[in-house]
């Protein structure tokens, strides 16, 4: 019989499957979020420079809070913009 590998789908069957979100800080054991590293913090802000919510980043509350305060420090030191357009 034909196994699942032999079946050809017209569209990618993985489309629509929700990937489980996770907290990357917990997963990789990152305990400290550096405010002097804007390239890293750039992952957690959108094109307008706004901090992404937890429901999108998937961070745990503890690290979302730490991340948010790191971003705010970076903004104060002009490493990240407060408001902008087309950041990414």
């Amino acid at each position: 019989m034909a196994s699942r590998d032999d079946i050809k789908f017209l569209s990618n069957p993985k489309i629509g499957n929700q990937r489980k979100k996770y907290c990357r800080f917990k997963k990789y054991g990152i305990k400290y979020i550096d405010y002097k590293d804007p390239d890293f913090l750039l992952q957690f802000i959108n094109a307008q420079g706004k901090i992404l919510p937890r429901r999108i980043t998937g961070n745990s509350l503890k690290y979302q809070r730490k991340m948010a305060s790191s971003i705010k420090r970076a903004r104060h030191l002009a490493m990240l913009p407060y408001v902008t357009d087309l950041l990414k």
Partner: protein, 166 residues
């Protein structure tokens, strides 16, 4: 002992010697307040993300110190506020993880490995709709009623969110 990080931006209009002298004055001030300098990091001339006092770039310095108490912070902040040559500053107390992070960074452990592990794991985008609600775990019989109310309100919130996004 407490570890602090004093980060500040020096006006780039000054000559190279003046910039160094400015940084040195703060290093001297810190030591005079009884702090031992752990590390002095010159991050160099960087573009500012937004203009400050009509300057678009600045020279960044970051000094990590170890002190017995935090009394020096007020004095050093006052000195920086009065100083025209410093356009921004931030004093920040490091926790034990921050101290370790800085040590690792100086040892060159962080950087390559970090970007590798985190470059791949960019946040999944476009998964804003229909978020899996955390399953209410029955803790107490009394709490179930309130939880039911909570989950109802959560569902209502989720519904409004999805409506907004559509």
């Amino acid at each position: 002992m407490r570890n602090y990080e004093v980060t500040f931006i020096v006006d780039p209009v000054l000559s190279g010697d003046e910039i160094k002298a400015t940084a040195q004055t703060y290093v001297d001030q810190l030591t005079s307040h009884g702090a031992t300098i752990v590390h002095k990091d010159e991050m160099g001339l960087r573009q500012l993300a937004y203009p400050i006092n009509k300057r678009t770039s600045g020279v960044y310095y970051c000094i990590e110190v170890q002190v017995s108490n935090g009394e020096f912070v007020e004095k050093i902040e006052l000195a920086m506020r009065r100083d025209d040559r410093v356009i921004r500053f931030l004093c920040y107390r490091l926790d034990k993880f921050g101290v370790k992070y800085n040590e690792d960074k100086r040892a060159g452990k962080i950087g390559k490995t970090k970007s590798k592990s985190e470059g791949d794991s960019s946040a999944p985008k476009g998964v804003t709709k229909t978020l899996g609600k955390p399953k209410p775990t029955p803790v107490k019989k009394e709490a179930i009623k309130t939880q039911a109310k909570m989950s109802e309100s959560k569902a209502a919130v989720a519904a409004t969110v999805t409506e907004e996004e559509e």
